[in-house]
């Protein structure tokens, strides 16, 4: 998501189509920000329930410092990436639920409600988020003059179940616009769209290629300028409802116009033009397509989310390293995720069915649940690791100015809809993770497992926002988890 009216000229030097370290600009470091390095915020999400219950294979059985050699299945990727010293887990969290929806709570129906409360901290009783999501609140304070206020990415492009589309299960970012209306902000799930949105202004260093690239950029900009003018002229000719819709379309065109300028990237070996991801993987079909058999051992309900997520992690990393953006929301999987996990994990099921015990039940099911959690956390650990290994011009790790939160859709416990005491349709015993070293996070170099019993999961996001200097809390959830700040 980009702002209108860019204030910074854009440039990039490098070799087209190849990965190349680029020179760094002083403007990107502390001096340009009043001596304080820019702060960065990332929110990642997994669309299924996994609790802090020991049998869920996610949360360690003991509180205290994380032991990278003794982690449950779900957290093992964090050990693999060597980031257990800069990531903490808070478990035992709960979000209230009742028919008369309480502040910071959800109605008794679980799916399609909990993720929106998590993201905003505001009670949910409809199909839309009712206040700013954490990434959009962060962007308001952190974006500065970056080219993109925030990146809103996802890896799962389709719902995969039945004939439905999942409604707003695939949206986890929202903001209140200048007119005071809430805008739900769907993620980019196409790697190609995401890549080109970030680097469309790239001009390669080779003079001949650069001339061609500049010609193309100028052509595209003049085309979009015309489109933008026509969209704007339409607004005043339409009725009220239509004009609002066209205004939103126009706003996005204006953002695109702003990106179609020569891209300036910092003069830093850390700022690297990633390889173009190529064409997008095809979108998978719905599950239970009986014409192809009911098993999962094919590509149904899978759009190569593993590749999509990998590209998105690459792009978030590089957007932060190059200071193109300082805020990202990454919905790895949609709420109530029906993605087939056979291709990435060899488990013949989709994520949702695993949570409901239909891969054998008992510990076989729970181990599968832990592996699915681990598949998601692998991307989280990877991004954290790469940010730690990326230095700004002052030699500081990017992780020192970054907070990365990770949320699961639900926990495991009491289901207010059915009265079941042990259900994945629950927002009890929830787990959240907070990584990074901004604002005192993990100052002692120890990642911990912290007891969050009685606390709201969004409190972790409040702590993350506090760590990066955002002077507000989310929605209806006050305060954070002080233990995370050392």
């Amino acid at each position: 998501m980009m702002r209108h009216g860019l204030t910074r000229r854009r440039f990039l030097r490098g070799v087209g189509g190849t990965t190349l370290a680029l020179p760094f600009l002083e403007a990107m470091v502390g001096k340009a920000h009043g001596g304080k390095a820019p702060q960065r915020y990332v929110f990642m999400f997994a669309g299924f329930s996994v609790g802090s219950n020991p049998g869920n294979h996610l949360a360690p059985s003991e509180f205290g410092a994380l032991d990278p050699k003794n982690l449950p299945i779900g957290m093992q990727p964090l050990g693999t990436h060597g980031v257990t010293d800069v990531i903490s887990m808070v478990s035992g969290l709960s979000m209230p639920s009742a028919a008369d929806v309480p502040p910071g709570g959800r109605p008794t129906a679980f799916h399609s409600t909990a993720h929106r409360v998590l993201a905003t901290g505001t009670r949910q009783n409809g199909s839309q988020m009712m206040s700013d999501s954490s990434d959009q609140l962060a962007a308001r304070y952190l974006a500065g003059d970056t080219l993109q206020d925030s990146l809103i990415y996802g890896a799962q492009p389709a719902y995969y179940y039945g004939e439905g589309d999942g409604g707003s299960n695939g949206v986890i970012s929202a903001r209140r616009n200048e007119a005071g209306d809430m805008e739900q902000l769907p993620p980019i799930t196409s790697p190609r769209v995401a890549y080109e949105s970030l680097f469309e202004g790239f001009i390669p260093p080779d003079p001949e290629l650069a001339a061609a690239a500049r010609r193309e950029l100028a052509m595209r900009k003049s085309v979009v300028d015309l489109v933008s003018e026509d969209a704007e002229s339409l607004i005043s000719r339409l009725g009220k409802e239509d004009s609002l819709r066209m205004q939103r379309h126009f706003d996005e065109i204006r953002s695109l116009e702003g990106r179609l300028e020569e891209l300036e990237l910092p003069d830093s070996p850390a700022c690297v033009l990633p390889e173009h991801p190529g064409d997008d993987p095809p979108i998978g079909s719905v599950i239970a397509d009986y014409s192809h058999g009911s098993d999962f051992e094919n590509d149904q309900a899978y759009s190569n989310e593993a590749l999509r997520a990998q590209v998105m992690v690459d792009l978030i990393h590089m957007a932060l390293a190059c200071d193109i953006s300082r805020v990202a929301s990454f919905m790895i999987t949609q709420a109530e995720c029906f993605m087939n996990v056979f291709p990435p994990l060899g488990i013949p099921s989709d994520v949702h069915e695993i949570t409901h015990g239909r891969v054998g039940g008992g510990d076989e099911q729970m181990q599968a649940l832990g592996r699915v959690a681990g598949w998601h956390l692998d991307f989280y650990g990877q991004l954290t690791s790469r940010l730690r290994d990326t230095l700004d011009i002052e030699g500081n790790s990017l992780l020192e100015s970054t907070a990365l939160a990770f949320a699961f859709e639900g926990g495991w416990g009491y289901d207010t809809a059915t009265g079941s005491e042990s259900s994945p349709h629950s927002t009890e015993n929830m787990c959240m993770l907070l990584g990074g070293q901004a604002g005192g996070l993990h100052a002692d170099g120890i990642g911990r497992h912290i007891d969050g019993a009685g606390r709201h999961p969004t409190a972790i996001l409040n702590t993350a926002l506090q760590a990066v200097g955002v002077p507000e809390t989310l929605g209806e959830v006050p305060g954070g988890i002080d233990e995370l700040l050392g």
Partner: protein, 552 residues
Amino acid sequence: MALLLSAGCYSGFSASGADGEDSVGATDSGAEGGESGTGDGTGEDPPIPEGDAAEVGVSGLRRLSITEYERTVADLTGLMPEAVGELLPIDNLTPFDNDYTTQTPSEPLVKGLELLSGDIAEAVVADAQLRDALLPCEPTGVDDAACFEEFLSSFGRRALRRPLTGEELTRYGILLEHGVEAGEFDAAVAAALRMFLQHPELVYRVEIGEEVEGQPGVFRLGAYEVATRLSFFLAGTTPAPWLLDAAEAGDLDSREGIAAAASQLLEGDEGRTAIGRFHGLWLGYHQLAEEGLSGAMLGETQALIERNIFDERQPWSELLTATETYVTAELAEHYGIPEPDGGEGWVSYEESGRGGLLSHGSFLSVGVKFGDTSPTQRGLLVRTRLFCQEIPLPADDLMVDVDEPPGADPDACKTERYYMMNEPACSSCHQLMDPIGFGLEQYDASGALRTEEPDKPECEITGDGDFVGVGAFNGPKELGDMAVESGLVEACASRMLYRYATGHFELDEHDEALIERVLEDQDGTFELFGFVEAYVSSEAFRHRRELQGEGE
């Protein structure tokens, strides 16, 4: 009018209220006043009668669905674009993919369009045949402004579905500079293609019109806007040149002219495709793969639609009672019915127990849950889609988890596991759904016949069903016959087609008035050509209503 079977889920039926006016004012307009431009209503028409005005429904800015965009691009350029579904956000389904009330502009949409338009433009100019077909002239050089303007004018008229103004031609003419700079006229053509293919008036169906005197909030559409309504409704794509010519010539200024154009559209191949797609979305089978056995199922249903609706002009309800079906040998074997001669063709169902569209594997593939057919989901499908009834989700205090398979014992037979229809707290709604589904249980999710549950030979499937409020039945043939005899599916089918045509699922009193009146004019029978003619001939079709704030 949708029937909401609310808290009590009462099973009785009531005829939809005929609260609309039943007269059609003779208000044929004169020639189109404006020469060009979006929303060129004449402004010279007399106010339409109150009765007609009451039928004018609210409409809004509709974005082309992914399928509509693909077909539009193919018609405009000759190139069937690739990756539209990958680069553009998926459409919301209500069940139709064109419901403007669910469409939200977004960064993924706008950026996806920019990428797509570039891909398409480059591919088109790289193909000499496609490129030549687009250019109405042969440029004399890279700076041939006259030829470029001729191209802009001809292609722009088709892309934006109206003639371009002189001011627009001048503005767009600057794109020629890119051809000059690149030393290739085609570079300018590509730039123009890029612009048109992401232009808001291509991406959205813009309707403005001119406000009708004495009818605040009611606007008379211009002829090009009427052409666009017709084309996307009945052909699923942008207006063909002949239709734009008809608009320009004033042929669409009369209701007779509109009806004639509608008939021409329906009789073309695009009409058959569009109406087939409408059925797929409506009945939920549109997501079936086009290859293999499921492709044969899609072909079976499309063949029936084309024969009954298009070739024989039968009432829609005849789809449910057809005694023959079009199958491949493989599909016939799968169904256990006689194989056709020559690999594929029409065969009689004979005494197989099958009959009509409800016997098709396409329809039976919908309503699957927990790895098998769901009597509840199938019953819900029949109630909501075929009868336009609404069945609410379980109330919170019922403590129901719709994600959990029913029944405590997964090894029990399905009749035991689906106990909800006999449970006092649940039965009021489940009695309306589950017995219908059980009546279809002898047909699995691929439409194959079965008499026992998968891997449970002890669980016999009788196929006995009950449509509470209508009667008992066994199998899809009897259900189809019964549905037709009830007289209720005609009204629902017409309501669904209207929803698809207007791009919004929720209907208000204006919409209901129009539907009721048209159905009455057709003696309650929904025959596609007759319904379409009556609908497109109404004042409602060539007007739009704009929300006027509170109270509307």
